[in-house]
């Protein structure tokens, strides 16, 4: 599986969110939004999130994380 487009991890990197309708996994952080197909192991970059979306950088600074509204398949940041 190819490496993620940027650092992944709690506190200092993007976090993973499964997207039930597509079966893909989403990665959001550092002003970018990518999706991974875990079967084909391919990453696709999606439209950048809003510029003021928080990035998960931690260390006392405001951070952001993503979750899934599973009944409609939308992601919340």
């Amino acid at each position: 599986m190819p490496g993620a487009p940027f650092h992944i991890g709690m506190w200092h990197g993007g976090n993973l969110v499964a997207d039930e309708p597509t079966g893909n996994v989403h990665l959001i952080g550092f002003g970018q939004h990518h999706t991974l197909n875990p079967v084909t192991a391919t990453w696709t970059r999606l439209a950048d999130p809003p510029a003021d979306l928080l990035t998960p950088i931690g260390q006392g600074k405001p951070g952001g994380f993503a979750g899934l509204l599973d009944t409609v398949g939308d992601r919340v940041h």
Binding site: I8, M10, G13, N15, L16, A18, E20, V25
Partner: protein, 139 residues
């Protein structure tokens, strides 16, 4: 519970029947420090360990995971090899006892775990270790 004292465990719900869980699923605990994924049967409270899930990469903090129900795969990885690092950077840093910062490799590695055999409703928890497939990321 097989492990304690770690604040950054990656937890996901394996939202499908799987050996080591029950008819509805299992709690998947990715423990990067030792490269083990534990499955918890929420009814029996029994844990099943799958070792060797991050070949060549252990001692990982701050890892993440997510389960794709459609594709029946747990994607996991990421994290940092040490608790101290420079936030917002693509590079992690070790701070030694003398507070010297040493760059360590960027951690963008991911793996995927999938159930490699049909869930047996009668057998339930009678599983063998390492009956899962993993795919190593990158080179």
């Amino acid at each position: 519970m097989p492990i304690t004292n770690y604040l950054t465990a990656a937890l996901s719900w394996w939202d499908s029947p799987i050996a080591g869980g029950n008819d509805e699923g299992a709690l998947a605990w990715y423990f990067g420090s030792t490269g083990v994924i534990y499955l918890l049967n929420p009814l029996t409270k029994a844990w099943t360990a799958h070792s060797g899930m991050t070949p060549g990469r252990v001692g990982i903090y701050h890892r993440v995971s997510a389960f794709s129900k459609k594709h029946q795969r747990l994607v996991y990885g990421g994290g940092a090899t040490v608790p101290a690092h420079r936030p917002g950077s693509s590079t992690s840093w070790i701070e030694t006892a003398k507070t010297v910062q040493i760059a360590v490799p960027d951690n963008r590695k991911l793996w995927a775990m999938q159930s490699a055999r049909q869930y047996d409703r009668n057998a339930r928890c009678s599983v063998s270790h390492r009956h899962v497939a993993w795919r190593k990321s990158g080179s």
